[in-house]
């Protein structure tokens, strides 16, 4: 690599990653939205697709990432949970038990912070996440219930 390349490389890398910058949650570009979906289905809003991209069990905690993508040609609005009662509509069912989102000692949900109404342009996506108490190891699949789509059934858990 010549000296000019060495100088420009960090800018090129930053520019490439700029659009795809995803930390835990947030708006993602179409490129970043290519993370493989474990399960997907239409949401209750025409043109918006809900995709589970992570269902990871670790140290007794189940982390779920739910990406919503706008596959339509127009901007769409969708409401993510804001306030305890709305967060409680997002839960996991495994066996005959229901698991609600974990809350810290101050009662804060361990999930994407209160989001509320979110606007998604054509091709744009948003990844929402939350942590739940993990079902026992004997449970290999779960149902995921939300207020934005029909239930996601038989989602495989990765350990």
């Amino acid at each position: 690599m010549n000296p000019l390349h060495t100088l420009l490389a960090p800018f090129f890398i930053a520019g490439t990653l700029g659009l795809a910058a995803v930390s835990g949650s947030g708006l993602v570009s179409p490129a970043a939205a290519q993370t493989k979906a474990i399960q997907s289905q239409d949401t209750n809003i025409d043109g918006l697709v809900g995709e589970i991209t992570q269902a990871q069990r670790k140290d007794g905690v189940l982390t779920i990432r739910l990406r919503v993508r706008n596959t339509s040609d127009s901007t769409k609005q969708i409401r993510f949970p804001s306030g305890t009662s709305e967060f409680d509509k997002y839960y996991v069912v495994a066996g005959s038990r229901k698991y609600l989102i974990l809350r810290d000692s101050k009662g804060e949900m361990i999930a994407t912070p209160d989001k509320g109404e979110t606007s998604l342009k054509k091709g744009e996506g948003f990844t929402w996440w939350a942590k739940f108490p993990a079902p026992p190891a004997s449970e290999k699949k779960f149902g995921f219930f939300t207020s934005i789509a029909p239930p996601f059934d038989d989602v495989p858990i990765s350990d």
């Binding site: 930390s23 835990g24 949650s25 670790k58 140290d59 007794g60 905690v61 982390t63 990432r65 306030g83 305890t84 009662s85 509509k89 069912v93 005959s96 038990r97 229901k98 698991y99 609600l100 974990l102 809350r103 810290d104 000692s105 101050k106 009662g107 804060e108 361990i110 999930a111 994407t112 912070p113 209160d114 996440w129 942590k131 739940f132 108490p133 207020s147």
Partner: protein, 203 residues
């Protein structure tokens, strides 16, 4: 990553990255208090319906049973005009703190049952301390504790905030002597004085 959010009270944590060590640590720490319910025994509100409407759907008989049980469990005192609930501060809060302890949730859920049954009733939440410590400190602590109870009822039980008023009395309204006749400390009396009282006006 953790972000502090000022809410007019203590700063609350907001979690922005599920993979951050702080987030994972918080999740593991939250496991002992995780909410896991047996589906067969759970009755949930229907999304989109108010709690009152959902309660009506469960039937009047069931509501009356819930109310009677809550009043009994809390040892609430009823008159024609009010229901008075006394909650020991030692159950609600840790020493010198104003954050609701997880052990207090069951009692507060019972309070919520009564508040829902009297859904139009103005409610006064009063904090009281014992006589130990400085007056100003006790006054502030009693105000903070009353406010914490209200905040819990709003956030966790969905009670309308506008109907609840809070007030702190510090050590001004004891219900038991703080000292024995000889002037010695009376720990049992002081324990009774450390409390939150909830007064629901029937109407």
């Amino acid at each position: 990553m953790l972000v502090g959010v000022a809410m007019g009270g203590p700063a609350l944590a907001a979690y922005t990255d599920p993979d951050a060590p702080e987030t994972e640590a918080a999740a593991r720490a939250a496991l002992p208090n995780a909410i896991v319910r047996d589906i067969a025994a759970t009755v949930r509100d229907i999304p989109g319906l108010s709690r009152d409407v959902a309660d009506r759907g469960r039937g009047v008989e069931s509501r009356v049973q819930d109310l009677d049980k809550a009043i009994k469990d809390l040892d609430a005192k009823q008159t024609d005009i009010e229901i008075r609930i006394q909650l020991p501060a030692d159950v609600l809060f840790d020493f010198d703190k104003a954050n609701i302890r997880p052990d207090a949730h069951a009692a507060l859920r019972n309070v919520a049952v009564i508040l829902r049954a009297y859904s139009k009733s103005p409610t006064l939440i009063e904090g009281h301390t014992d006589a130990k410590g400085k007056d100003a400190y006790n006054q502030k602590l009693s105000e903070q504790r009353a406010a914490s109870v209200k905040a819990w009822l709003v956030k966790e039980a969905g009670i309308e905030p506008a109907r609840m008023t809070t007030r702190g009395w510090g050590k001004q309204r004891p219900i038991a002597p703080n000292t024995k006749p000889g002037g010695k400390d009376d720990p049992a009396g002081r324990q009774k004085n450390r409390r939150v009282e909830i007064v629901i006006q029937k109407r």
